[in-house]
């Protein structure tokens, strides 16, 4: 991770970084095919390296990368928790790899895993039915909103209900997903306690409202205590209530979106159910719905009847949101994780996640508005630049929190330690926060100094985009 590690393997004439594959050896191959020349390319130029050289290249790259196995990763709203190793072995079983067009009778094992996971998630979310098709959380949001749209259209209110209401502090994906589904956005200003303001909500919803998208606990780590009132207000206006599952880890086994009045929700399996985030994906974003919305779910749906598993098409299906059935390997890992934990493990997860968030908040010297916190909290860097604070935290060997969001807290540092951190590592995190808090502006501005790269120039990267090795000078 640290700079000195890299100098140890500096075995080429390229100074200070691991060379690109293209710098290690490009080869141009002329195409000589049995196909006619006008159907083929002339040549192909790509790196040509031996397996030992490749193994070393990628091993070095891995050493220049920080994961949850490297240290604390308290990236707020991302739920970066420890991923147990055995789930990878399950996902690597030969029988797992089947073609998506196989007939249902010949893949009863895969479909059984689907059916069981649908059932697990329906129970955990308090929803009636679950589809596993959306391949990520935002894809789940899009799917959920499309299902809501189909429901309103079926009830002849499709034209009239053209707005989706979202709190200002919500995930940016909520806005983008609803806009993608063709909705106009109505932004809900926050209440003074960081929660939904019921008067503002009443003013925002009406005959045009298709849905309210809500995260609970919200992105400030606060439980929306008035959730039943919120549900009533939205339902009385004829809208649907959408649950953004990004923060479900805080509620596992303690409260269920379905019981709070939510009509549709997505799960982030890569967050709550400990499937590795893989450098940014794959994830999986199943959605759960009440029985009123079941007919509109994506096709196909896995159904069990007399111990046999079938693929069926929901009556008024919205169609498909993924070319096949979503990210099957991620679904399998989540199934393995849930069956490992069981009831007591799920419940203990939320207990430890919430304890860790509150303990860490109690150990940090910065201003932390609101509370009590569910699995995350938002500290304020005050007059300092939260991005600078984050860069300096890197020098203390930890991943910093999410910065500058939500914008309703000045220079926000959104922190989610998860249940997987020990008291010792929480203390290390708090020490990093507090040490940086004592340091001068100059130190912050020049940070980081101990990492494999120093502060990276984002502006020139955007102004002069170089997006492949073809665009580099060297």
């Amino acid at each position: 991770m640290q700079r000195h590690d890299q100098t140890v393997w500096n075995d080429t004439d390229v100074d200070g970084y691991e060379p690109l594959l293209s710098e290690k050896g490009l080869k141009e191959v002329e195409i000589d095919s049995a196909l006619p020349d006008d159907l083929t390319r002339d040549s192909l130029e790509l790196p040509e390296l031996s397996e030992p050289e490749l193994a070393r290249h990628y091993t070095r790259l891995s050493q220049m990368n920080y994961g949850i196995d490297s240290g604390p990763y308290p990236l707020g709203s991302c739920t970066m928790k420890y991923n147990p190793k055995f789930t990878e072995d399950v996902a690597a079983l030969p029988a797992v790899s089947v073609h998506p067009d196989r007939d249902a009778e010949s893949i009863q094992g895969t479909l059984q895993v689907f059916a069981e996971l649908q059932e697990y998630l329906a129970d955990i979310g308090g929803m009636d039915v679950v589809t596993l098709q959306p391949p990520a959380g935002a894809a789940g949001e899009f799917t959920g909103i499309m299902v809501a749209k189909a429901y309103h259209e079926y009830n002849d209110e499709g034209e009239q209900r053209d707005e989706v209401v979202v709190p200002a502090s919500a995930h940016g994906t909520n806005f983008a997903s609803a806009a993608m589904a063709g909705y106009d956005m109505v932004e809900l200003p926050p209440g003074s306690d960081g929660r939904v303001d019921l008067d503002a909500l009443s003013a925002a919803v009406g005959d045009s409202t298709a849905a309210l998208m809500l995260t609970n606990p919200n992105t400030l780590g606060l439980f929306e205590r008035d959730i039943e009132r919120i549900a009533d207000i939205v339902h009385e206006a004829g809208g649907l209530l959408y649950y953004d599952g990004a923060n479900l880890n805080a509620l596992l086994g303690r409260a269920r979106p379905g019981d709070m009045g939510f009509d549709v929700m997505h799960f982030n399996l890569h967050k709550t159910f400990a499937t590795p985030h893989g450098g940014g994906g794959p994830g999986a974003g199943p959605i759960g719905v009440t029985e009123d919305l079941e007919a509109f779910l994506p096709t196909p749906q896995v159904r069990e009847r007399d111990g046999q598993y079938d693929l069926v098409e929901p009556e008024h299906t919205i169609g498909k949101v993924h070319g096949a059935m979503g990210n099957w390997l991620v679904l399998l890992k989540a199934h393995a994780y849930i069956s490992r934990l069981g009831d007591s493990g799920l419940r203990d997860t939320s207990e430890k996640a919430v304890l860790n968030a509150n303990y860490l908040a109690s150990q940090i010297d910065l201003e932390i508005p609101f509370g009590p916190f569910h699995h995350e909290f938002v500290a304020s860097a005050g007059e300092r630049d939260a991005a600078d604070v984050a860069k300096r935290m890197l020098d203390y060997g930890v991943h910093p929190p999410t910065t500058k969001w939500p914008e309703i807290v000045q220079e926000a540092l959104m922190t989610e330690p998860t249940e997987a951190e020990s008291k010792t590592s929480l203390d290390q995190l708090a020490d990093a926060f507090n040490a940086v808090n004592e340091e001068g502006e100059q130190t912050l501005a020049e940070a980081p100094e101990n990492t494999s790269a120093r502060r990276i120039d984002q502006t020139s990267a955007a102004r002069n985009p170089r997006l492949s090795w073809h665009s580099l000078d060297s």
Binding site: Y66, S70, A139, F142, G279, P282, A324, A462
Partner: protein
């Protein structure tokens, strides 16, 4: 693997061994006490600010069991899948994934990291993604590749909305070939619904686009023309350049669906005038995985500010050393929200890493020879099938890649069912056609396959 033989009753041995909570939280009781005291509460329950009326006090009836038991149970479950040699394709194809791909990609610094929000400590993944983008740019002949979409179908959906945002003239028609996979068209229709685009299928002839037929469908209100190469039937399109000229003439954007193995050999989309390329890049790096994929997306530099998803760019750090970072993030949902170029946050980055490793391990020579094999094998097998009474192959009189259709009598579905008895899976298309995909993964069984069909037909 340390799974015990089935004769051991693991339920008995490992019963309820997680009844004390999660094994993945490192706290002991005294630490919990200290932490509660620091927070100033007596119990964790006090921290849950949830109204009584919505508290969940029941059980899910999910029994936590040991890791050993979970592994055995899931192994037994998935092994209920029939073990067929698959000759299935139609857009979901599989190639042998070298061991180095698993061993390197499963290194936990890669696997357990997230989106590279702090580039100073994620240079390794950023560089790997930059290299992936570079490989895709070379294969497509286009300037800009992003570092993943979910799959081929969702990538096409994004391509259509990009066309809608980028094209100056008014219009709302997206033209796709009639051979296009239904499932992918269905995804496309969902993706473009919000933008109020209309997807229309145009007729093809002998499995290929006829530019004259296509031109009859064209008008100034077409935003996107999509074709595939190879097509879902394995046909190599012969008129890609003419289609590019037509799309230029009518001001539509031109998108080609393909994959990295095919692109190693076939005409580069950039050279035939394509504005965008989509497809499934996980043909390198991942097996069929029940259709889990890696959406490839590349386009001309002209559309840079409209590209959906994440981009990695080269930059410098404060020492002047080359470094990589996510760039042009002002397009993304966390900044532009409802005006973002897509809603993608979590993508398929780890699969892209696997694809890059697989591509690098083959190198250009290996890729080209794999692709050449994907052309030669199906043509050879088609010729062998054509010798069998009652089989005529290939149906399409043209060049093929990986796949081809064959006409059979009396009944394709019965033939497919009979072959399943022999442990072989093929597509039956209606009552009189089958489709077969042949790659390096199933080539060792092509003789068995031809023999099985011979026996069944006789």
């Amino acid at each position: 693997m340390t799974i015990p033989p089935d004769s051991i009753d693991v339920d008995q041995v490992h019963r309820d061994d997680t009844s004390d909570g999660t094994p993945f939280a490192p706290h002991d009781d005294s630490e919990v006490e200290e932490m509660l005291a620091a927070v100033g509460v007596d119990t964790v329950e006090e921290l849950f600010d949830i109204p009584e009326s919505v508290r969940f006090e029941e059980s899910f009836d999910i029994d936590g069991v040991s890791e050993q038991r979970v592994r055995q149970r899931l192994r037994e479950t998935v092994e209920q899948n029939e073990d067929y040699t698959e000759f299935l394709g139609r857009g979901h194809n599989s190639h042998y994934v070298p061991s180095i791909v698993d061993h390197i990609s499963l290194r936990s610094e890669f696997l357990t990291s997230y989106t590279q929000y702090q580039p100073e400590i994620t240079q390794g993944f950023l560089q790997a993604l930059f290299e992936y983008q570079s490989v895709i740019a070379e294969l497509t002949g286009l300037d800009v590749a992003n570092c993943s979409m979910y799959d081929a179908a969702t990538a096409l959906g994004e391509a259509a909305t990009l066309a809608d945002r980028s094209r100056r003239a008014d219009g709302n028609r997206v033209l796709v070939p009639d051979y296009m996979r239904d499932t992918h068209r269905d995804v496309l229709e969902n993706y473009v619904e919000g933008a109020e685009l209309v997807v229309e299928a145009f007729d093809t002839e002998n499995g290929q686009v006829n530019p004259e037929t296509l031109e009859n469908e064209l008008s100034e209100d077409v935003v996107l023309i999509y074709v595939e190469n190879p097509t879902i039937e394995g046909v190599i399109e012969e008129n890609l350049t003419e289609i590019g000229e037509l799309s230029d003439a009518y001001g539509a954007l031109y998108c080609i669906g393909s994959d990295p193995v095919a692109l190693s050999l076939l005409q580069s989309p950039g050279s035939v005038g394509a504005d965008m390329v989509v497809g499934d890049a996980s043909v390198l790096g991942l097996s069929t995985a029940y259709g889990m994929g890696l959406g490839m997306f590349a386009c001309d530099e002209e559309f840079l500010r409209q590209v959906p998803g994440r981009l990695v760019g080269a930059s410098e750090d404060s020492d002047g050393t080359r470094a990589f970072t996510l760039t042009l993030q002002t397009r993304e949902q966390h900044i532009r929200r409802e005006r973002a170029t897509s809603n993608i946050c979590t993508n398929q980055a780890w699969v892209a890493l696997r694809t890059a490793i697989h591509a690098a391990s083959l190198g250009p020579s290996g890729l080209v020879s794999l692709a050449e094999k994907c052309h030669r094998l199906p043509e050879r097998v088609a010729a062998e099938l054509d010798e069998i009474d009652g089989v005529s192959a290939p149906v399409r009189d043209c060049h093929h890649f990986r796949e081809f259709k064959a006409r059979v009598e009396p009944d394709a579905r019965e033939l497919a069912a009979d072959l399943r008895e022999e442990g072989i899976a093929i597509h039956a298309l209606g009552s009189d056609e089958i489709q077969i995909s042949i790659t390096d993964v199933n080539e060792h069984r092509t003789d068995d396959f031809v023999q099985a069909i011979t026996e069944v037909m006789n």
